[in-house]
Amino acid sequence: MLIVACIKQVPDTTQVQIDPVTNTLIRDGIPFIVNPYDTHALEEALRLKDRFGCRVAAISMGPPNAEATLKKALALGVDHAILLSDRVFGGADTLATSNVLSAAIRKLHSDVDEVGLVLCGKQTIDGDTAQVGPGIASRLGYQQLTLVDRIVDLNFSGKIIRVSRKLEGRHEIVEAPLPAMLTVVRELNRPRYPKVPMRLAAAKATVEVWNNQVLKLDEQKIGLKGSPTWVSKIFSPDRAVGEILGDGFADPEGTAEMLIEKLLAKDMLPI
């Protein structure tokens, strides 16, 4: 049995800026991290590996430097790390992305082992669409279970899974037949920390790269050409720059008074 975790390399958003001319993210010089939700997907896959002895594959579509993301996955203990990288994959929207990822999962299914579960993050912190997971599921004909915060029950031989979904103000327990695609939230688990010997092994390991010669997808369905959505504009909303009114350290009482006055003036204190 194989579990596939989809992980995406994203720019560290605390440091992201948008190019005002091209309306795209400025990715130069910004450190990349693994999309935080995806670390939980990966962790859950590894826990299932620990529990059931199944194998785990991590896949990521991205530029060649996304290899670093997959090395992190290797250091955590995945068995296969595959980078889906090709110029023709570039400029993909969520539809094109899902096409590539599901093709890769199909290939893993036929070449490596039967895929029982695909785990994705709930959404990314850069694209934020939360569409790719469901996109993969519908392309593969898998059940889709989104916003999972707990796997209640899993039975590979009986091909059944029961999960808890975290919805606003309530939880929903859902049961579905396998194979299934799960998108996960942070509450699901606490990601592990890589052990040094594994890091060293991962640093030396090579990450397999699959390009379109491997996946053999119709170029009309991938990359920019396969992306029906276009971004017309990305911009940072103008926000008035705040000013520092008082020094709470030098004059705590005076500053507190000033704050209360301002809040009162704006009718923001319930009196």
Binding site: R190, P191, P197
Partner: protein, 657 residues
């Protein structure tokens, strides 16, 4: 007495053999450890042994220290006398009495007096242990047995002398005042009774000696009579504030998860412990009732080695885990995470046992090999590795603290000092005030200085002390590279952790920097007339100074902040009861800054209360962590109006306002 000889000779030979075997059996286990990169400065080692073992310098710090010194020296002398006793037991013709009178008589006199003094010292030691024990668990059966056997041994010695004097056999009788008094008590005994009394005394003396040799010295804390001396000889050169680097290549083992992964010196340390308890009394974790007791840590390592030693020698796996549930011979994980790496244990240990490096070796194993640590640390480790600061703030924000000031970037060709602001100084809202005060003072003094701004990275102190050597190594290499590239030679730090790391830890990477702590620099600038005082800091009221562990104990900077404060306020700062090398930690070192304090009283609160006993208006610190810990602690006690300020802020008050 031939029949005595016939019995004694085989007993003694067996005893000596068993004694040697016992010592060998235990101490040879030390060889299981990893070789140390030992120094070869024998002159220094010898001096250390003379001062600390034979001079008992660190023991004399304590009220009963003189008692121990007395017992030590008396025993050294009496060992000689006992060797004679043993030889005479085998070869009755070999006797000190054969020596010329002018040598023999003084020896008898000194032995007589010293033996009496030993009995007094033993009585003193018993009283101490009963009524003023160093620590509650010090009243052990073992300790009382040792003292009793020594006492019996000495009493028997007097028994022998007294009976020999009464029998008229002792030539030096006139030179043995104490024995003479005792001989007076034997008046009225028949010759036969005297003979019997002598035999009983002689055998009691002999048996007590053999018990000491075969049971107590090798199998109790009394082993320290040999190992402690050796440990003082092997004392490390310099401060034990850095651990060896690790080589990150595949196949290596990281940290010490098994007792034979410690260094040989670490293992020898465990045999040198006297169980005096000084370390546990000084330890902030133990003192506030947390799991972690440096005395027990050392004991656990020894017990673990004894239990697993023979298996490890055969190349088999150990049966008792080194890190485990905390039963004897295993150290609990909880205990390991409670250490603040304050160094107080090492500073107080009379025989230079190094507890802290062992703790960090164990932490390295947990973090690097097991990836197992308290959950708060996961964020810290990721923030440090990903964004080079403990909070995970964007590195681009690093220079924001000086956005209102005209601060220049460090320039290789024109700038003299790099002001290495540090994470707290750059990001912590309270500490930014200290950075600003420093910037203003440096400008006022007309010094050539600059910052690295966005390119400054965390020094890595916390991760190193927490045992995450892998991440530290990466951070250190990056920093060393930056410093080299930028041509940095002289560095000012306002954080003792940055100070110690740049100064001591980076030296391991071949980077020699002239690092100066801001308290030293400020003191110098005032002394050399670069900063003119207007005296207004005198209005701060009573100022009490708290020593930071990484400035004081780990780097011996005690006077500079005090002198800076005296210059700024006009009077020497008040001292907290435990100060300078005995100062009690604020609780934040060793990565504890980033962890919850789950058990016992809070360390910062304990220290704040100690400081408040001096009735200060201002508590002055020289470390950003101390600043945070004291401000937090003060919130929990009723101390209206007491402020916490950094030395630089006090100085700014005196210079700038």
């Amino acid at each position: 007495m031939p029949q005595q000889t016939v019995l004694f000779t085989p007993l003694l030979v067996a005893s000596v053999a068993f004694f040697a075997w016992s010592l060998y059996r235990q101490l040879s286990l030390v060889g299981l450890g990893k070789p140390d990169a030992g120094g070869t400065d024998y002159v220094r080692s010898l001096r250390s042994m003379l001062v600390y073992a034979f001079g008992q310098k660190r023991i004399l710090r304590h009220p009963f220290g003189f008692n121990h010194l007395l017992m030590f020296w008396a025993c050294v002398f009496l060992v000689v006398v006992n060797i004679e006793f043993m030889l005479e037991g085998i070869f009755p013709s070999l006797s000190l009495a054969k020596l010329p009178d002018r040598i023999y008589f003084p020896i008898c006199f000194i032995s007589d007096i010293l033996s009496a003094l030993v009995i007094l010292a033993v009585v003193n030691a018993v009283i101490r242990r009963m009524f003023f024990p160093a620590y509650a668990q010090a009243r052990t059966f073992e300790a009382f047995v040792i003292l009793s056997v020594i006492c019996v041994h000495m009493l028997a010695y007097f028994g022998i002398n007294a009976s020999e004097i009464s029998q008229g056999r002792e030539l030096a009788a006139a030179y043995m005042p104490v024995s003479n008094v005792l001989a007076g008590l034997l008046v009225g005994m028949t010759a036969e009774e005297l003979g019997l009394f002598h035999v009983v005394s002689w055998w009691t003396h002999a048996i007590a000696l053999m018990v000491l040799m075969n049971l107590l010295i090798p199998y109790s804390k009394h082993l320290h009579v040999f190992t402690a001396i050796a440990n003082c000889f092997m004392r490390r050169e310099g401060k034990p504030n850095v651990l060896p680097l690790e080589a990150f290549v595949e196949g290596n083992v990281f940290g010490a998860g098994q007792v034979d992964l410690f260094s040989r010196k670490d293992l020898f340390d465990s045999f040198a412990c006297t169980k005096c308890g000084n370390c546990q009394n000084a330890c902030p974790a133990a003192f506030t009732g947390k799991a972690m007791n440096p005395r027990l840590l050392v004991n656990d390592i020894r017990v673990n080695l004894l239990v697993n030693g023979s298996r490890l020698k055969r190349g088999e796996a150990p049966i008792l885990p080194l890190i485990g549930n905390g039963g004897e011979g295993s150290v609990s994980e909880e205990a390991l995470w409670n250490c603040t790496t304050c160094g107080a244990c090492m500073e107080s240990c009379p025989v230079f046992i190094e507890q802290m490096p062992k703790i960090i070796q164990l932490r390295r194993h947990l973090v690097e090999t097991e990836a197992q640590f308290p959950e708060e640390l996961l964020n810290l480790f990721e923030n440090m590795e990903g964004r080079s600061n403990p909070w995970g703030i964007a590195p681009s924000e690093r220079a924001k603290w000086c956005s209102q000031l005209d601060v220049k970037p460090f320039d290789k060709n024109t700038t003299e000092y790099l002001f290495y602001v540090g994470c707290a100084g750059s990001f912590d809202s309270r500490n930014k005030h200290v950075s600003v005060a420093m910037a203003q003072l440096l400008d006022r003094a007309g010094i050539s200085w600059g910052i690295l701004g966005k390119d400054e990275k965390c020094c890595g102190d916390s991760v190193r002390r927490l045992g995450n050597e892998y991440v530290f190594d990466k951070m250190a290499r990056e920093n060393v590279e930056i410093f080299r590239e930028r041509g940095v030679r002289k560095v000012i730090t306002q954080c003792p952790h940055c100070f110690s790391t740049l100064k001591n830890d980076y030296r391991q990477y071949g980077l020699e920097l002239e690092v100066i702590h801001h308290s030293e620099l400020l003191r110098n600038l005032v002394q050399d007339g670069y900063l003119k005082l207007n005296g207004t800091a005198g209005e701060m009221g009573a100022v009490v100074f708290h020593d930071s562990c990484y400035l004081g104990r780990h780097n011996d900077v005690y006077d500079a902040p005090r002198e800076a404060l005296r210059a700024a306020t006009g009077t020497a700062p008040k001292e907290i009861g435990r100060n300078r090398n005995n100062a009690f930690c604020c609780g934040a070192g060793g990565g504890r800054m980033w962890m919850e304090e789950h058990s016992g009283e809070r360390i910062n609160l304990t220290r704040v209360k100690e400081a408040l006993e001096e009735k200060p208006d201002t508590i002055c610190v020289a470390c950003p962590y101390c600043l945070t810990m004291f401000e937090d602690g003060l919130k929990d006690v009723n101390a209206d109006g007491v402020k916490v300020l950094d030395v630089a802020e006090v100085m700014a008050e005196a210079v700038l306002r």
